[in-house]
Symmetry: C2
Subunit: 251 residues, 2 copies
């Protein structure tokens, strides 16, 4: 089963190279990629030339840039996940009903990954869309997803997270975060008040399968001046619970 011949080293290395390209570093030279991946320069070069040859990357003789073709790789993953397609209509309806943006995400390592989103107005500084990532520890959906894990596993993720504060209310003490996660577990929902970004509040609940397993998280986000934290729970939690119940029957 785990024989060494079952693992394609160069494929794995190539994927490492692909992940180098991100918003901050869209143009990379061979040496850049070697430094980022820890691979030999020669190996990085082979991976990059392969990407170029297969149409995933542009090459100007010095720098490599990904082409739209590269979108096929991860987007096929998004399209392959059944959840986004199931939840999208619910999201659209919820968003229209309450007049706020709402999203669905899952956990990947220390980050949450947006799978679906229905945006109303742009209240956040960053553009969020399916595939976007945010640190789990200070997001409402992240807390909900961490609350569904065994305590030890959640702690391991928090310990591996970068807890640099991002907003006035950011919680930076691991113990305090674990306490908030425990509270989320008891309540069955999580309210975040300007921990990630000043002026932004978010309320999240888990999306449960028919068997009660947490398969994703659902949230709404809104400007802080729209409602007090308590108002937010009383005003919007029922709507979230409603979607949660509707989805549980389909999963």
């Amino acid at each position: 089963m785990n024989r060494s011949t079952d693992h394609l080293g160069s494929f794995a290395k190539g994927l490492r190279v692909l992940e180098c390209f991100c918003a901050e570093t869209p143009r990379l030279s061979i040496a850049d990629v070697a430094a980022r991946t820890g691979l030999d320069r020669a190996t990085s070069r082979r991976c990059l030339l392969t990407l170029h040859h297969e149409g995933y990357a542009e090459y100007d003789g010095k720098f490599f840039t990904l082409t739209p073709r590269a979108l096929r790789l991860g987007m096929s993953a998004l399209a392959a996940l059944p959840l986004p397609q199931i939840v999208q209509p619910w999201l659209d309806q919820l968003s229209e009903q309450i007049g706020q943006s709402c999203s669905v995400s899952v956990l990947d390592g220390t980050e949450i990954v947006y799978l679906a989103r229905a945006a109303q107005r742009r209240v956040m500084s960053i553009g969020l869309m399916p595939g976007s990532r945010l640190p789990a520890h200070f997001t409402s959906m992240g807390r909900v997803l961490l609350a569904a894990l065994p305590e030890a596993q959640a702690r391991a993720i928090i310990d591996a997270s970068d807890l640099t504060p991002r907003a006035p209310n950011s919680v930076t003490d691991p113990e305090e975060i674990m306490a908030r996660i425990a509270q989320t577990r008891r309540q069955g929902y999580c309210l975040i008040d300007q921990e990630m970004e000043a002026g932004l509040r978010a309320l999240a609940v888990p999306i449960l399968s028919a068997r009660g397993e947490t398969v994703a998280a659902l949230n709404i986000g809104m400007a802080a001046l729209h409602a007090d934290p308590e108002e937010m729970v009383t005003a919007y939690l029922p709507a979230l619970r409603n979607v949660q119940a509707g989805l549980a029957r389909m999963l």
Copy 2:
């Protein structure tokens, strides 16, 4: 430069395997992948086990499924493209102003790829989001993008496209499509009236760089009962032109 040792065969094969996973086929066995890629079953197995080992795929002993981690691959590509981040605010504003969905896409082979989208209401049967793909030949943005190419290149793409009709107004004659593309080139915009989906009209213009090169396409889509084709042009083309002019200054 093009020495054979500069090309990593197994990396290229692995990418072919990754592309197998799409909305219609999210769960694939080793033999499924072998059939789709044309690779040997043993090779497919190695690629899949590598994906599993690196955390990109789930394996239940029979079927493979991509994990959210795989989203990193394509999304890094989306994030690496500068265009989406530049156009998103313009899209949001345009969408709110006219009360309709609008999108930005680029060409990749015979398909258009959505880079950014501001959705208002769900009028289409399929969920569109950044990364989604549609055949270029019968979409408004596709026609605009094809019109920017040299005639011969556009023809080659049309010849390579599957022209199976999808709606009552679908154009299936390559000559007719080329004529519509020529018309789009003269007019500087393209109106599609229920060629892709019954009840759906779309209006697109090119997004031009400061040097006048077409770098992407911008469109709005709406239900056919909202407006006549002519009304649609008079009502919405100015708004599109406005965004087009604003973006030209930034590119």
